[in-house]
Symmetry: C2
Subunit: 291 residues, 2 copies
């Protein structure tokens, strides 16, 4: 709900979005879901921007989100076109203890990589570093809202329960958005951002909860893993606590890094957490090319 | 979800509910809501046990919860009858930082008061004391599930996001239920529980968020109040942080004690938190009367 309340506020009073070279247009993606305080009505909007959906004509059998995906694509895209918006900042919250996380589709989006670096350096809250996840493995074909822009980041801030807005989470998201606009403004004004190296996370796989034949959970996230997003998990470390008292241990061969641990919206997606590896990236300098 | 997962487990394996003198019957109150991972389908089940609903005949226009309330009342009540179940333990979670909370309808339910005292003394987790709230002011006419039993407590454990189960919360709820059954078993076996004095909380009023004309929130719980359930709030202390940067301070004359701070399910009920006062109770000795 943090993004929802910020967007509603900015639609009433856009003062703090004002930058010399940037036109920022705040909007709510899923009005009906917001109204009902649920993630979605018919299907997950943030998995609804598939090409086949965007190209289809409206039909009686559409879910609310299929229609809404087309509307958003028409207004802020169309995806891949010259008229698509330059930059999408998609605001998300998670019940996982992920602090300030920046999701990027590809390390080849150098502007998004530089934005992440800028946020990491200028992060207002030194107690809460910005983590960067390269999320290309999470969506095999483009289906998320962020894919509509020429460049994009998802800002994922947590932990916050669904249906709740917490001041600290809202304030951190607000600071990240303002800092992002500062960066884009500097870039637009021709500032040069030098090359740098960055450590980020790449998604390896999704791990589901142990379940019975009916799909019901037989275990919960182990208390020693709960809230330990981004901390190393070594072979033999506990992953799940079974309701019958047993423990499920990590049987991998190498250290992994988890995120989205115990995210509410991912139970139905059969994801207890995602396994990631750490990867170093070299990002070249960028400067706006005034051709 | 903690109660849901415990009940499902106990329905498969009731071993840990076994006591010499107690027949404990675990059940899920709202199957459809559990399936959809929401609080309710048509209306809040835990406000649906009003006499007029329980006495009505099934009708096409009934919500799912109205029918379910009648079903539960027929099976575990009928409320007020000799055949009603002896003791209801209603398992709840909250997004508020309320630790282990016991809600009781009236201090005149001496068995529930003694059970609370027993849980406070035998609480497994000394870092998390059991708080007792006398909730009679919250429901002016009986409409909650707990009113079906001759005696009842609600166990309210938090913080836990909606749609999520956290091991520490589940383990604490599990320990509270097992300890409650121990107490009832001792009582049934004729143990005498001596008189005692107890401090508890009584509900004074509900406080809503500042809202605009359309009902949208203009403020969030102040970071200095967030997670401070049961801690004293004095005149002049901050309550809300407005999105425009201003603060809303507590303008009361006397110290109050808040609970249910930022509970997800209460946004729609226009409750940001409940104001309470501390009250001392003298509870007489009890012993089962074998007449």
């Amino acid at each position: 709900m943090a993004g929802v309340y910020l967007v509603r506020h900015w639609m009433q009073d856009p003062t703090e979005l004002g930058r010399t070279t940037v036109t920022a247009e705040p909007f709510l993606a899923n009005h009906m879901a917001v109204k009902k305080r649920v993630r979605y009505i018919g299907q997950d909007l943030n998995r609804s921007f598939e090409e086949i959906t965007l190209r289809a004509l409206d039909s009686e059998n559409d879910t609310y989100e299929e229609r809404r995906a087309r509307e958003i694509n028409q207004h802020y895209g169309p995806r891949g076109s010259a008229g698509a918006c330059d930059f999408v900042i998609d605001l998300h919250n998670t019940t996982a203890n992920m602090g300030s996380t920046i999701l990027i589709m590809s390390p080849d989006d150098h502007i998004a990589m530089h934005l992440s670096n800028y946020l990491q350096i200028h992060s207002v809250d030194s107690s809460s570093p910005c983590h960067v996840i390269i999320a290309r493995e999470m969506t095999r074909e483009p289906c998320s809202l962020m894919t509509l822009g020429k460049h994009a980041v998802v800002l994922e801030v947590g932990p916050q329960p669904h249906g709740v807005v917490k001041a600290d989470i809202l304030n951190r998201m607000r600071a990240l958005v303002k800092c992002s606009l500062d960066f884009i403004d500097l870039y637009n004004q021709g500032a040069e951002f030098p090359a740098f190296g960055m450590e980020a996370y790449e998604v390896l796989e999704r791990v589901d909860y142990p379940r019975d034949a009916a799909g019901h959970l037989l275990a919960v996230i182990h208390p020693k893993l709960q809230d330990k997003d981004y901390l190393p998990v070594n072979p033999g470390d506990p992953l799940f606590q079974m309701l019958n008292g047993h423990e499920v241990l990590y049987d991998g061969d190498v250290t992994m890094y988890p995120a989205f641990i115990n995210e509410a919206a991912y139970y139905e997606k059969k994801v207890a957490f995602i396994k990631m590896k750490r990867v170093g990236y070299s990002v070249p300098a960028i400067r706006l090319n005034h051709e």
